[in-house]
């Protein structure tokens, strides 16, 4: 297996935890709420997902528990920012720290245990293509579902009434309320959805991608997901592109080192971050379109 094949084989799986969390956060931010607690919700999902999968032997149950855990934690956030109209940045950070703490607490007696991941599925026909077939098109089912989900989310946000409602609430909550939308209900549901997605993202990391539990294993992926949403200018396609690019580059960094290329590893370690930001900044450089896509009421509390 050469370097290119290695990257092709691994980049989608590497992108999946960040992509799942980013897609959830996209919906949250589209309704005008900024939830900075992604890292903690992912950590909690990772812990609950691992514990459930380890105990009951079912990945499906694991994902379910993780989604539930993430959603419950995010509802605490919803209560604080929607119910008590608290500052979203502070509340999000607090929820993030709480989630990380809860994950250590729950995961305590499962530290360093391992399980088996999910089998890889080859896509019929496509996996027969030389080079990219046996690498890119052989992934576990969650990777395929995540990509399908991204397409579905794009369609919902841009071509359905539900998507219009979500965007209207984010653009101008007062106008949305005036035409009869329940702003707080929509925001609350979006927050719960974002929490569930972050939980699933964490569970993917701990039960499929790296099938083991270790305290702190999310290792900053929640923050990267958060950055992807902003640099992807709240567009599903760009976020997915950014996630896969980041995944590919972070694998590229490792394989470049393994190949003995004479570049200091610290510089290589920066490359995925720098290049992803640059790429997304370049494609988002059109000012007019940028203004179009920015969520106008992002981070602002709403009191009916």
């Amino acid at each position: 297996m050469n370097a290119i094949e290695f990257i092709l084989a691994g980049m989608l799986a590497a992108a999946t935890p960040m992509l799942l969390a980013a897609l959830g956060e996209l919906v949250v931010e589209r309704t005008g709420v900024l939830n900075l607690g992604l890292e903690g919700m992912m950590a909690l999902g990772a812990a609950l997902g691992f514990i459930t999968t380890y105990t009951y032997g079912s990945h499906l149950l694991g994902f379910g528990a993780a989604a539930l855990g993430g959603a419950v934690l995010s509802l605490v956030f919803a209560l604080v920012v929607l119910g008590f109209v608290a500052n979203q940045v502070a509340a999000g950070l607090a929820i993030g720290i709480l989630g990380t703490g809860l994950s250590s607490l729950f995961g305590k007696s499962f530290e360093s245990l391992t399980i088996t991941g999910l089998p890889k599925l080859a896509l019929p026909l496509l996996s027969d293509v030389p080079v990219i077939g046996p690498t890119l098109f052989v992934q576990d089912i969650v990777v395929w579902l995540t990509l399908l989900f991204a397409v579905g989310l794009w369609a919902v946000l841009n071509h359905t009434k539900l998507g219009l409602m979500i965007r209207a609430v984010g653009e101008n909550p007062h106008a949305a309320r005036a035409i009869g939308f329940r702003v707080l209900t929509i925001r609350c549901l979006a927050i719960a959805f974002g929490g569930a997605m972050a939980g699933i993202a964490g569970a993917y990391a701990s039960t499929v991608y790296t099938p083991l539990w270790a305290d702190g294993m999310i290792a900053g992926r929640g923050w990267i997901a958060l950055a992807l949403v902003v640099f992807g200018t709240w567009q599903t396609g760009r976020i997915a592109f950014g996630a896969v690019l980041f995944g590919a580059l972070s694998l590229g960094e490792l394989v470049t080192q393994a190949g003995g290329v004479n570049i200091p590893s610290q510089i290589l370690a920066c490359v995925p971050y720098v290049v992803t930001i640059l790429m997304l900044a370049v494609i988002s450089s059109n000012r007019r379109r940028m203004r179009q896509n920015t969520v106008a009421s992002l981070g602002q509390p709403f009191q009916p």
């Binding site: 297996m1 050469n2 370097a3 094949e5 290695f6 691994g10 590497a14 935890p17 250590s104 305590k108 530290e111 360093s112 391992t114 990391a205 991608y209 790296t210 099938p211 083991l212 270790a214 305290d215 702190g216 294993m217 290792a219 992926r221 972070s250 694998l251 490792l254 394989v255 080192q257 393994a258 190949g259 003995g260 004479n262 200091p264 590893s265 610290q266 370690a269």
Partner: protein, 365 residues
């Protein structure tokens, strides 16, 4: 111990509890008991660095019975939080402190200065005070032997190492591993991937896969505390070994062995000195001869003649007859690292910032 609670035992225990409450502070309560506290940066799981330190303190409890009371403070982040917790535990009566991470150094030193009656052992540091001793393990003695085993099993003649950070301790382990491998097969090459993190299981696993993709067929998990690399190698069918505590359970077929550390002799010796009032701060770089570093859980696939050679070499290293860093050793760039017949001194090994010839990956500067 679980026992059913009945009225009589409830009364007894509540009586005991109320007596205990009457005493001022729990830690001061019993006279003649040495309160030992161990502070570690990660959760003390069933494997890994913190676990081996915990085992060391368990040996103290076993040896001294009721005379020693050990408190484990785990998952303590380095920095102000650790300083606060250290101060608190000392204020509550701890008089023997074991600090399990480099980053606890400054807080620990200050505490040692303020409390002359306190003795502190500090892992992987370099500062010494009259009541403050840094300690570490000579992992390189064990990794040299692992190199011999790795070379005998490698088909591609390419070995790989997943490293946390390019610091001397890890570099010496890799160099000794390479030298050991070359002593069996001079054509061996070693690739290194630095993850630049002490803790990122996902990246560690990807790094191992990247090395495997490049044709490496024996992997060294250098300073990873979780079985991330070990489990990935077992799945891929590549031999793998790690440091500190055995992870054979995660790789029953492909586990090459472990370069283990046993802190019990050193801890016992230090507590003994503390109790006798003769504790003196000194740097302890513990070796096979100190019964700290050991190799174990060898894979059954290693050929018998290599096993014999390894056993012989192990005895030579333990007796001090041989050091892995004995010249001639050539540096990666072709210049002379160690002259023929010369053995590197401890300070040279402790500050090593170069790779030996045969390590394919350039060292980050």
């Amino acid at each position: 111990m679980t026992s059913r609670l009945n009225r009589r035992s409830f009364l007894k225990s509540s009586l005991a509890a109320s007596t205990a409450l009457a005493l001022p502070i729990p830690a001061f309560a019993q006279d003649g008991v040495l309160n030992v506290a161990l502070i570690v940066p990660s959760p003390a799981a069933d494997v890994g660095w913190s676990h081996t330190l915990e085992l060391g303190t368990k040996a103290l409890e076993e040896k001294y019975g009721d005379k020693v009371k050990v408190t484990l403070l785990e998952n303590i982040a380095e920095g102000p939080d650790a300083d606060r917790i250290m101060n608190k535990t000392v204020a509550e009566g701890t008089n023997f402190l074991i600090l399990g991470s480099f980053g606890y150094m400054n807080g620990g030193l200050k505490l040692a200065e303020q409390n002359p009656g306190l003795s502190i052992l500090h892992a992987s540091g370099y500062m010494v005070a009259p009541n403050f001793s840094p300690f570490g393990a000579r992992y390189y003695q064990g990794t040299y032997l692992m190199g011999m085993a790795a070379a005998s099993l490698s088909k591609t003649k390419k070995l790989g190492c997943v490293g946390a950070f390019a610091i001397p301790e890890l570099i010496t382990s890799i160099n000794a591993w390479t030298l050991g491998a070359q002593s069996v097969d001079p054509s061996i090459e070693v690739s290194v991937v630095w993850v630049n993190s002490w803790f990122d299981p996902a990246s560690e696993q990807e790094a191992a896969k990247a090395l495997l993709a490049q044709g490496c067929d024996v992997i060294f998990s250098n300073a990873q505390d979780t079985p991330s690399v070990v489990a990935a190698c077992e799945e891929a069918g590549a031999y793998v070994f790690n440091l500190n505590s055995s992870m054979k359970a995660y790789a029953p077929a492909k586990y090459l062995g472990v370069v283990g550390t046993d802190w019990a002799p050193y801890f016992i010796q230090s507590v003994e000195a503390h109790l006798a009032g003769s504790f003196a701060g000194a740097s302890a770089w513990l070796s096979m001869a100190d019964k700290c570093v050991f190799v174990a859980d060898w894979n059954a696939d290693i050929p018998a003649d290599i096993v014999a050679k390894i056993t012989e070499m192990e005895a030579a290293i333990e007796s001090g007859a041989f050091s892995p860093f004995t010249g001639p050793i050539t540096k990666q760039d072709g210049s002379e690292g160690v002259a023929a017949g010369v053995t590197l001194g401890d300070d040279m090994i402790l500050s090593m910032d170069w790779h030996v010839k045969g390590v394919a990956t350039p060292l980050p500067q």
